[in-house]
C-alpha cells in the first residue's frame, strides 16, 4: 500500500511554463519534506513543512502543507532546464521514520 501518492508521475514541459506537483495521503504526518533527486545521485532536501496550511517559498518553488497535514503541493514558476529531476515528497510517521512518495519525474525542455 502506497501511503503517499504523487501526481503526475511524469511531466514534460517547456522552459518558462508553470507546474504543480501533488503529494496526497489519507494519513496525517507530523511534517512533510520535498526532495529532488538527479540521475546517479541521492535525494537532496528542498524544504520541510511542519504546520498545517504552511507555505514556504524557495526562489521559484512554492511548497504548501495541507491544513489537515495529509497532503502537500509543490509549485514551480517559470520552470528552467535545471529544475529537471525526480521530485519526492516524504512524510514523517514517527521518530526517524519517513515514508517516501511515489515520485514525479520532471523534464524541462529548453
Amino acid at each position: 500500500t502506497q501511503l503517499l501518492e504523487q501526481s503526475p508521475q511524469f511531466l514534460s514541459i517547456q522552459e518558462g511554463e508553470n507546474l504543480t506537483v501533488y503529494c496526497n495521503s489519507s494519513s496525517v504526518f507530523s511534517s512533510l519534506q520535498w526532495y529532488r533527486q538527479e540521475p546517479g545521485e541521492g535525494p537532496v532536501l528542498l524544504v520541510t513543512v511542519v504546520t498545517g496550511g504552511e507555505v514556504k517559498k524557495l526562489k521559484r518553488l512554492t511548497f504548501q502543507f495541507g491544513d489537515a497535514r495529509k497532503d502537500s503541493s509543490l509549485h514551480i514558476t517559470a520552470a528552467q532546464p535545471g529544475d529537471t529531476g525526480l521530485y519526492l515528497c516524504a512524510g514523517e510517521r514517527g521518530t526517524y521514520k519517513y515514508i517516501f512518495g511515489t515520485g514525479t519525474r520532471l523534464k524541462v525542455l529548453a
Binding site: E41, G42, V44, E92, Y96, K97
Partner: protein, 114 residues
Amino acid sequence: DTAVSQTPKYLVTQMGNDKSIKCEQNLGHDTMYWYKQDSKKFLKIMFSYNNKELIINETVPNRFSPKSPDKAHLNLHINSLELGDSAVYFCASSQLQGAGNTIYFGEGSWLTVV
C-alpha cells in the same frame, strides 16, 4: 569531503552470492539508514540505527543484515542474492532535531544481480 559515502557505487554479481555495501558519515549524526530504490524510483526504508542500536526494521528478508560498528558507520550485508535484490541502495543519516529532520543521502550503490 563527502558527508555520506558508500562503497561500492556499482556492483554486479551472480545469484546466490553474498555481498556487502559499506557506508560512512562524517556529519556527526546519531541516526543512519538504509533505503532501497527500485526500478520505478520508489524509495523505501529498510533499516534505521540510532547510536548503533537498531530502531527500524521494515519487514526486510533476513538475508539482509545491517551492522553498525559505531555511529558513523552502517554496513549492509546481503546473503544469497536474488534477482529481485537488484536496485539502488542508499545510505543516509540524520540528526534528531524535533519535527522535520534533514536526511542526508549518499550517492547510492547500484546493485545488479544476474
